[in-house]
Amino acid sequence: MAKTTVHAATQEKRVPEGLWLRCPGCENMIYRKQVEESFGLCPDCQHHFRLTARRRIALLADEGSFEEMLADLRSADPLNFTDRKPYAERLVEEQKKTGMLDAAVVGKAFIKGRPLILGALDPDFIMGSMGSVVGEKVTGAIEKAAETHLPLVIVSTSGGARMMEGIISLMQMAKTSAALARLDDAGGLFISVLVNPCTAGVAASFAFLGDIIIAEPKALIGFAGPRVIFQTMKRELPEGFQTSEFLLEHGFLDMIVERPNLRSELAALIDYCGK
């Protein structure tokens, strides 16, 4: 595993420019620096801003402990896909925008001194969608966890399978799930952390296969998007539909954890499940 550094510049540059920003939660004008220095939370309402994959890992892993694996994978554009623009072009643009080759980062890390395999999806790289690269990295992380007998933690945020890789993307759902079956058979621990938004193909595969499933507050989590459901049902969706709190109430989450407590909660859970 090659050791790579986390670049603060790429972590931050995707937040809209300006000293101040409006919180989508409480609509207050808030001081950007304050948000950035406090886990990406609104100081007034604790709204959880989206985090890039690298920022997420920097917030979870012990400082300097992250060793990235499979860092140099990029999509081979298996369908030679074109919509309004060629996928190959879109990939290059997304890479420039995010400073990442694709939407996932995985590697070995420590959390409060506990070794583990840690992964995170990036909500800004084509909506964190899963194509071949995300599928391969997540599967690689699962296999590494099984091989090293280390706990696995993946922080998932995604719009689902990546349309531009068509059926190949869909099959990444089966691939990651099959790898988790083997990890489970081997007695490995998988803690899945769902953060805003986590839907469709990623929710309907590895993200909902955790031994323990955690979500951040008020995240959008579900199979179909609210717009599609609204079009199907042709009536208003219930208050708080498809939020973390809704899922907890319906029995699909173990707990909701606020971002500043995530590290210590993960460490405590790992201690219960260690062998």
């Binding site: 790579t4 670049h7 603060a8 510049a9 790429t10 540059k13 620096k33 950035e36 220095e37 917030l59 860092a71 140099d72 994978l73 990029r74 999509s75 081979a76 369908l79 919509d83 309004r84 890479q95 409060k112 071949s132 599928g135 391969e136 399978a161 990546r162 349309m163 890789e165 068509g166 059926i167 190949i168 990444q172 759902m173 089966a174 691939k175 799930s177 099959a178 083997r182 058979d185 839907t199 193909g201 929710a203 309907a204 595969s205 993200a207 909902f208 296969l209 579900g222 199979f223 179909a224 599609v228 459901i229 049902m233 969706l237 219930p238 498809q242 319906h250 699909f252 995530l262 590290r263």
Partner: protein, 350 residues
């Protein structure tokens, strides 16, 4: 009997068929031999259908896969599954009519059948949610699979869904979780699993009963990560460009075979399964029996290892260290340019 015209490109067939029927009627009522004319018209019809179906676009193929007269799961059950013992319910919430499960025999082989069913008449279609299963459908399927595993019965799945149901109840009962569990459990189910897409292979709704040892697809069926309409709405911003999306998605049997997603394309009768359901059923039965026997012959551990390898190997990535170096260099340059405002990220205070 051939169905009435439904699809635009089928209309010329219907006109010709009407003409043939007219001649046959005349022949029956009046003296004189018209059999040569009738035979010639029949040849023309066959040629016309062959030509039209030889040139179907991916979008046309999607239309055929959704043809209102296309045989559905329960039609095939009626045609070739003997002693079918339907099993109902997921034991948690309800019985999903869109997912049909039960013991049965094909070619003398005992199997567990799991099939997505769209419903034929309006009433049945509504009861089946037009072939869109709810979480209880996927859980019912899993229950049937576990039963099959316990008694070493091969699982046969027939896939035909526009997608898993996107609704309030489906979300409340964990649609994503229900599908996810099926993917994981099918990957390690200790009995053979063979599948055929008989109509629409709609995304996760199809995959939820589609992980296994062998995958066939009918000649005019499709399998895709998203419907062409859905893809067009998102990427082209208008559902009207479904035709373009259908082409870009590579969802036809031929593409799926080339991509290694399906093992075999099962030929349909001339003009599609709906023009001759009985022949279609005969072909499908023969193929399914072959799939089942082939899977049963393999020792279970080898079968499971191959199943994993089959699932594991899908995907196409490039290892590109140079691209990574370039990205990191660009990021480092930008970092040097920007003030070191966020050099130290805050860590957990606890």
């Amino acid at each position: 009997m051939a169905p009435g015209p439904i699809l635009e490109f089928e209309k010329p067939f219907a006109a010709l068929e009407e003409e043939i029927q007219g001649l046959e009627k005349v022949q029956a009522e009046q003296p004189g031999d018209l059999s040569a004319e009738v035979a010639a018209l029949r040849r023309t019809l066959v040629e016309m259908i062959r030509k039209t179906y030889g040139g179907l676009t991916p979008w046309n193929l999607v239309q055929v896969s959704r043809h209102p007269q296309r045989p559905l799961a329960r039609d095939y059950i009626d045609y070739f599954v003997s002693d079918f013992k339907e099993l109902h319910g997921d034991r948690y919430f309800g019985d999903d009519a869109a997912m049909v499960t039960g013991f049965g025999k094909i070619g003398g082989e005992k199997i567990m059948l799991i099939a997505e069913h769209k419903g034929r008449d309006t009433k049945e279609r509504v009861a089946c949610h037009f072939g869109c299963p709810h979480p209880e459908g996927y859980r019912k399927a899993l229950r049937a699979m576990r039963l099959a595993e316990k008694y070493a019965l091969p699982v046969v799945t027939l896939i035909d869904t526009p997608g898993a149901f996107p609704g309030i109840g489906a979300e409340e009962r964990g649609q994503a979780q229900a599908i996810a569990i099926n993917l994981m459990e099918m990957a390690r189910l200790r009995t053979p699993i063979v599948s055929v897409v008989i109509g629409e292979g709609g995304s996760g709704g199809a995959l939820g009963i589609g992980v296994g040892d062998r995958m066939g697809i009918l000649q005019y069926a499709y399998y895709s990560v998203i419907s062409p309409e859905g893809c067009a709405a998102i990427l082209w911003k208008t559902a009207k460009l479904a035709e373009a999306a259908a082409a870009s998605l590579r969802l036809t049997p031929q593409h799926l075979l080339e991509l290694g997603i399906v093992d075999e394309i099962i030929p349909e009768p001339l003009g599609g399964a709906h023009r001759n359901p009985r022949d279609m059923a005969t072909t499908l039965e023969r193929k399914l029996v072959g799939f089942v026997r082939q899977a049963k012959r393999m020792p279970l551990e080898k079968l499971l290892a191959r199943r994993y390898e089959r699932i594991r190997s899908v995907g196409k990535v490039v290892s590109d260290p140079a691209a990574l170096v370039a990205l990191n260099a660009a990021a480092a340059a930008e970092k040097a340019e920007a003030a070191p405002a966020n050099g130290n990220l805050p860590l957990d205070a606890n």
